[in-house]
Amino acid sequence: MGAAQGDYGEIFDRGYRHYAGPRLGQAHAIWALARYSMARAVGIRRPWTAKIIPALLYGAVAIPVAVAIGIRAFVPAFAFLDYASFFGAIFLLEGIFVALIAPEMLSSDRHDRLLPLYFSRPIGRTAYVVAKLLGTGLLTLSISLLPAVVLWLGNGLLAREPITAMREGLDDLGRIIVAGVLIAFYLGAIGLTISAFTSRRSVAVGVIVLGFVLTESLSFAISRALDGQGPLAPWVFAISPSRTIAGLVDSLFGVPGFGEHVPLTSAIGAIVVVIAICLAIMFAWYQRHD
């Protein structure tokens, strides 16, 4: 039975019904896995206990934005929260958010021994990693980019002449998008790489959060020890995600930063190099193991 029988290299036709619907291809498979992973990570269709922490984090990001727009609505002259300090303020929340979702993306599949099931389907090893990265990046965007865009929209719409104000604010919007996208994929790639190595969600969470905190202190300690001398001194900031992001945001929005100044190109360069290293490690790891 079935017209597509010629597609199957079967010796016996046991009379199983074959799938005769449209073949949606690799891209659809990747998107389906990414969408499913995102829903799982924030606790959609899971018990309410899995929803508490994501909801708290979204709330913690939404409150400052709402307060800033509210203040702006009543006291137009008072700039409560500019974009640079917004990105600085939410770094800790983003770190915890990535520590929440990245282990959920990879460690759970490992723990529940789902990988052989995935890899026996059209989702291959590369496609699996791409889907998980896509899911993590998009979810992290919802906490790094979305609130900033809402803040920008609020600032624009509350101006005396919204259309001109928004047209003038377009380069701000560009900066917000660059910062939001880079931060999301940077933190997401680091979190995923760490969680790829353990099947225990809790261990991955601990290593990610502690890693963000310790690398910052470590990088400051090395900076102090080198004291600006030597060829490597300008690159010490790249050890620490928080210093890299602070450098990126400060130079992007032209705010005099805390401590020394990091040129925009080296901040972006450090981020891109770290993302590339993380991707290389993950692709190699998933090709060889499991």
């Binding site: 353990t198 225990r200 809790s202 261990v203 969470v205 601990g206 202190s217 470590l218 102090r224 020890a225």
Partner: protein, 243 residues
């Protein structure tokens, strides 16, 4: 004597789980991380005495972040991993009272964390003492060790309880360590009265300044809190629904 004997199987089982997985290695590795800071400091001391450096490191890094997370990893894993793997019912089926289960796991957590913390502190002190500057680092090491050990006792008991009440106890613990103790402790001084960090630092200061009353008061408060948490954990383990 008989109590200790019946605790032993639970403790060895939990210890084997910690050493078999990555937890024990991770705990030891994290505990020794301050030595890296000490090495950077010893490489270029820039005029800071070793005692001053160790004091700052202990106050700013070890007590607020490092020690809590070192304790949280095994403490939330002791029952949390069994819940996640669905092996808790098999443990509960054994003819061992709930009290002994809790005490056995608690002991195992302490046996993993306290030696690791002490090794890390000793290593850090040893490396920092290479830098020039005279100080009695022995007393400092004693104070640091006592404060870290008491902090481990308190947090291990509290987070055994937390891991029995909510899933993802480690994440909740992180939020507690960073949000509650760091942010609220800075803005609301009242929070400090019930902050584990402040009590650990009181032990540290008390031993260093020779103020025995301060150290003892803090240690007793922490011990009482630990006992209460353990009692609540026993009650929770008796009443919880495990499938």
């Amino acid at each position: 004597m008989q109590t200790a004997w019946t605790l032993l199987p639970v403790t060895t089982l939990a210890l084997r789980q910690f050493t078999g997985g990555r937890t024990a290695r991770l705990v030891l590795l994290l505990s020794c991380l301050p030595a890296l800071f000490a090495a950077i400091y010893a490489f270029r001391p820039s005029g800071i005495a070793p005692g001053e450096f160790l004091d700052g490191l202990f106050r700013e890094l070890i007590v607020p972040t490092l020690a809590p997370i070192v304790v949280l990893l095994p403490a939330t894993g002791a029952f949390g991993d069994e819940l996640e793997d669905g092996t808790l019912p098999y443990l509960l089926m054994k003819p061992v009272s709930r009290l002994r289960l809790i005490l056995g796991k608690f002991l195992a957590v302490l046996l993993v964390t306290i030696p690791s913390l002490l090794i890390g502190l000793a290593l850090t002190t040893l490396i920092a003492s290479r830098a020039p500057g005279s100080a009695d680092l022995g007393a400092l090491l004693l104070a640091m060790g006592a404060a870290a050990a008491m902090l481990a006792v308190l947090l291990a008991a509290v987070f055994l309880l937390v891991s029995l009440v909510i899933p993802r106890a480690l994440l909740a613990g992180m939020v507690y360590v960073f949000a509650w103790e760091s942010l609220l402790g800075r803005f609301l001084p009242g929070v400090r009265a019930i902050s584990s960090r402040e009590h650990a630092l009181q032990i540290f200061d008390g031993i260093l300044a020779g103020d025995a009353a301060l150290a003892t008061n803090a240690a007793v408060a922490m011990a009482v809190a630990a006992v209460v948490a353990l009692a609540l954990a026993v009650w929770r383990l008796r009443s919880m629904q495990v499938e």
